[in-house]
């Protein structure tokens, strides 16, 4: 396969970026998208050019490290997969592929396609946890009876890998699907109910402080989420927040 890549290049957060064209040849259909970028970078290194910086780690869709907006879609054209799970057979020889970083003021570009997603870490630190006594008296979580629907919903919310595709997909760069998933993950379980009020108020406060936009219910976040996190989590976030604010 031969492809024309249009890749966002930006030296750092202070410099302006732009799209740069690269031609890649001898790409096998069974290669992953990231391997294709590895080959591009190998070529750039051999010619003395700066390789394209991009995030990746596990390359099996569970760590949430890879990002990239490929032809306008976060994590590429396939539904329910991350960029590292995308293969070149999804494209045809001669295609032009646009590759951009996740866009959002709260996700500033570090270099090229790498963005700083530590805003998510700070939101998580503000309340995305449960305070469990681990001094030796810990009750086995499996010993707590939990209705099956609640357990299923908590597990579904916990599938969020915090990659930030929801922010990248939303026209407002809203982080409400991520925050909704993290709040729902705990609010459905008895262990999470003790700190439920503080959690939702603090996480929403931190989310707003980070400069994410407002949710206008376009549904793009759910449609582009590689883990299929449901909009129900945003609705649950709204309910939990209002409950926490109204019932003091």
């Amino acid at each position: 396969m031969e492809l024309l890549l249009k890749i966002w290049r930006q030296a750092n957060g202070q410099k302006k970026g732009s799209m740069v064209n690269y031609e890649v040849k001898n790409i096998e259909p069974d290669m992953s998208f990231l391997e294709m970028l590895d080959i591009l970078n190998q070529g750039l290194i051999e010619t003395g050019e700066e390789p394209v910086a991009f995030d990746h780690d596990c390359r099996e869709g569970i760590c949430g490290m890879c990002s990239l907006v490929i032809n306008g879609s976060p994590h590429g054209p396939d539904r329910g997969t991350t960029t590292c799970q995308l293969h070149m057979r999804r494209f045809k020889s001669g295609d032009t592929i646009y590759i951009e970083p996740f866009r959002g003021t709260a996700f500033p570009v570090v270099k090229d396609l790498v963005v700083d997603r530590s805003a998510f870490d700070r939101i998580q630190q503000s309340g995305g946890y449960v305070s469990i006594n681990t001094s030796g008296n810990t009750v086995d979580a499996n010993a707590a009876p939990i209705p099956k629907p609640d357990a299923d919903e908590a597990f579904n919310a916990a599938a969020c890998i915090g990659c930030g595709a929801c922010v990248a997909a939303c026209k407002n760069s809203s982080a409400m699907l991520f925050v909704g998933a993290k709040v729902s993950q705990y609010s459905r379980l008895p262990q999470g109910k003790v700190e439920a009020k503080e959690r939702v108020i603090n996480m929403v406060k931190q989310m707003d402080k980070e400069g994410f936009g407002n949710c206008t219910n376009t549904g793009a976040c759910e449609a582009h989420c590689p883990k299929g996190i449901s909009l129900e989590n945003i609705l649950n976030l709204n309910r939990e927040y209002l409950k926490a604010k109204i019932i003091k």
Binding site: M19, G72, R103, K171, V204, F212, T218, L231, N238
Partner: protein, 215 residues
Amino acid sequence: MQSSIVKKVLMALSGIFLMIFLLQHLSINLTSLIPDNGKTFNTISHFMGYNPLVQFVLQPILIFGVFFHFIMGLVLEYENRAARKQKYVYSNTRSSWISRNMIITGLVILSFLMLHFYDFWVPEIQYKYIDHGIHNSSKYFHELQEKFHGQTLRTILYCVSFILLGLHLNHGLSSSAQSVGAVKKENGRIRLLANIYSISITSGFIIVALYHYFV
């Protein structure tokens, strides 16, 4: 008011309030189609125009609701634009045009409201409170006919605005339900309600405008 969730809930509640008002407005307008030479329409319009509760309590609340909804919409749009200063070179989002462009349909509706106020509300205020005109309960139907009969440009402008209003309401209703915390399993019914409501409002107002244009 600082919280993004509080803002979206207030936006939703003001939107729901305006949707209820629109339903009431259309119900009154549809009475102008009753073949009684405008008697029913005139009676209701006169009641709405002179009842102190409507004039001095409900009308100020409505005007506040309209201003609040538009100002909040502009504030949210400003904040949302600031949340993504660098746009994508290539965009291919999986969301509807209507949901992404509520500000455009909203601004068209705002422009339409200016025309609508100029056509009906300003002359009414002038007649009642500036010229101190006498109570004339039979003028409303005639005024309505006068504005539309043979007035091609105005009728087209109204009809186009009603279509955009319908698009705005379609996303607005389902979005409002989500903002106030509706459960997702009700999504199908909410979507159905949004479709029925938006189509009814749009077609209802268009029928009234076209009826008075032709008849």
